[in-house]
Symmetry: C2
């Protein structure tokens, strides 16, 4: 355990001093990398997710290319929904599609939550990929497991794919909040089983992605989205009290008082608010969360490298005064030049190393 415990990313998540501010990038295993596009040209997206060798290789690509301080498993947040029996299709150019969306209490009740055994059976390929990544990394950098929050998983399952207005999901939430809560609770049970399996397979931290929680106001967020999240968080803490948990929310500037109360180690935020403002809001709400992750706008990596460096200086200054893991505020854009991503990582590591830990 001591070698693992010594890794800068894990130390930073626990708010322990590090020699520099660690960095990784959301969606770092993905389309901006030519070696990923090579594989993708020959295989379907879900095939890559479900083939442990391929998923492990893709997970490792950005570690080699960018020198990031953590790997994150290559997988899709929707895999556990498919494992529950929901048909899932990735149509070319269209993103994920659920041909049979779940839009009623009856349809929700017909979904059986995964337990640990079913998760092993149906999502064992994910766990095998994780074990291969751990072996290949040999303790050099840790690997992060992840899942979507029930609300975000539901957004795809209820809408039948991506959405702009979420009319089915939100309509359901006003029409029959108890029925939707039943679905969310089943998704929490499934997610917990899935993430516990990732921990057993060696995930050294867990990130929960709440991509669509920000469409709710705070009262409804706390009533609908938070309870199933708390169920997952309690289960993860019981399973592995020492593994950091990171909560990512996109577009949730208005939800900070609610987020402040989540029992997580790290809050990962988008670029809309400066980190110093987020930190002040958490402190004002009496939050126990001492570490922020983020939050460069992914589009900033489309700028010339000197401009990226200038923004890294600002970002490190914003992140100071508390724990900080450098990251983007959302997934890296497919059009990002690899050399720009590399410059972001290198610059963040180098500049932060020149400042004593106590001053960061």
């Amino acid at each position: 355990m001591t070698a693992v415990d010594g890794l800068p990313f894990l130390r930073a998540c626990r708010r322990e001093p590090t020699d520099f501010t660690p960095i990784w990038l959301m969606r770092q295993a993905g389309r901006y990398l030519p070696e990923y596009r090579d594989l993708r040209a020959r295989h379907g997206f879900l095939d890559l997710c479900k083939t442990p060798d391929a998923a492990a290789e893709i997970t490792l690509q950005p570690v080699r290319r960018l020198g990031v301080d953590a790997a994150i498993l290559f997988a899709d947040i929707l895999l556990p929904l498919e494992a529950m029996g929901a048909e899932l299709v990735f149509a070319a150019g269209d993103g994920p599609v659920f041909p049979h969306p779940v839009r009623s209490r009856e349809a929700a009740a017909a979904l059986t939550p995964l337990d640990d055994a079913a998760a092993e059976e149906r999502l064992g390929h994910v766990y095998e990929a994780l074990r291969r990544v751990r072996r290949a990394l040999a303790g050099r950098v840790p690997v992060i497991g992840f899942g979507g929050t029930p609300w975000t998983l539901a957004s795809y399952l209820v809408e039948g794919g991506g959405s702009k207005q979420f009319a089915h999901l939100l309509g359901w939430s006003y029409r029959d909040p108890e029925g939707l809560a039943l679905l969310l609770d089943r998704l929490a049970d499934t997610s917990l089983a899935y993430l516990r399996g990732q921990l057993r397979a060696g995930a050294q931290a867990i990130q929960l992605f709440d991509t669509w929680g920000g469409i709710l106001d705070q009262e409804r967020y706390e009533r609908l989205a938070v309870p199933p999240v708390l169920k997952i968080l309690r289960g993860l803490r019981a399973a592995a009290p020492d593994r950091p948990i990171i909560y990512y929310l996109h577009g949730g500037s208005h939800l900070l008082p609610a987020l402040a109360r989540l029992p997580v180690d790290v809050l990962s935020v988008d670029w809309r608010l400066p980190l110093s403002t987020v930190r002040r809001a958490l402190a004002a709400a009496g939050s126990g969360i001492g570490v922020l992750q983020g939050n460069l706008d992914p589009a900033a990596l489309l700028a010339p490298i000197p401009e990226i460096e200038r923004r890294v200086v600002e970002l490190l200054a914003e992140g100071s005064g508390g724990g900080h893991v450098v990251n983007l505020g959302h997934g890296i854009l497919p059009t990002t030049p690899v050399e720009n991503a590399r410059a972001f990582v290198e610059c963040a590591q180098r500049l932060s190393a020149s400042v004593p830990a106590a001053a960061r």
Copy 2:
């Protein structure tokens, strides 16, 4: 002028006492209405926008059906871009498409801003529709003119249509902010000419729609999005100092300190923050904006009518303590039952009328 000045919607925009809290709905002229779908089945969307008789008829439909306290011109925010020479296509089911997106300083410089004469020539159909609406309404309710903000117009023109990530627009903003500012300034000149024409044609208030400003952090919002807006606002004030100006921003909870400084009469917000929180934030920022518009989640209109009524009670309470125009937080959803929209309008008017103006 006195009859017009006496209309509850216009009085409320000026923070003058009214007998009840006036209400209208964003996108109230649209697909949830069977009489609109009837017309749309027989005519293309742009054809309807460009035919004064049709546009006037569609503008009047929700006034008849719902009894709202203001009409809003039926038009598309992208019409002035087409009038500047940008080819615009509405492909079936795909929304607006600009086949030749503007993504460089050169392409921006090649666009000629509309002046008043060019706006009259190319967008005269909009002005004619407005005049017909004014005549048909005969002073019973006022008609609102509108336009998109330069940032929001640019989001479509630069991306080539709708977008989820706005990678071209945001990438440009980091790579060459001065070049993008040039485009935004031309869009401001065009918008001002277009909106001045609407005022001349009889628009009794103007709403600016900033649908995508919320993707910027505050510093960049103030640097890029606000200057062209101020240019428009100054021009509108000079042209018609007495006509209320409403600013609508979607997803802008993090931008309230910047919005507080806009010289507008009414701030229209989405449902993410309660109106009381918005009002406190404006006051804390020393804002001169005394009237809020909004902010029911459009999806709430998919709930049963008793639930809608319960939410109207809450909304009126939230809106009290300052000027309030009831509205949705975003456009009405196409799947909204007409009777639910009607119940929202009727309930807001009836319940607010039972409370003395001084207590609202």
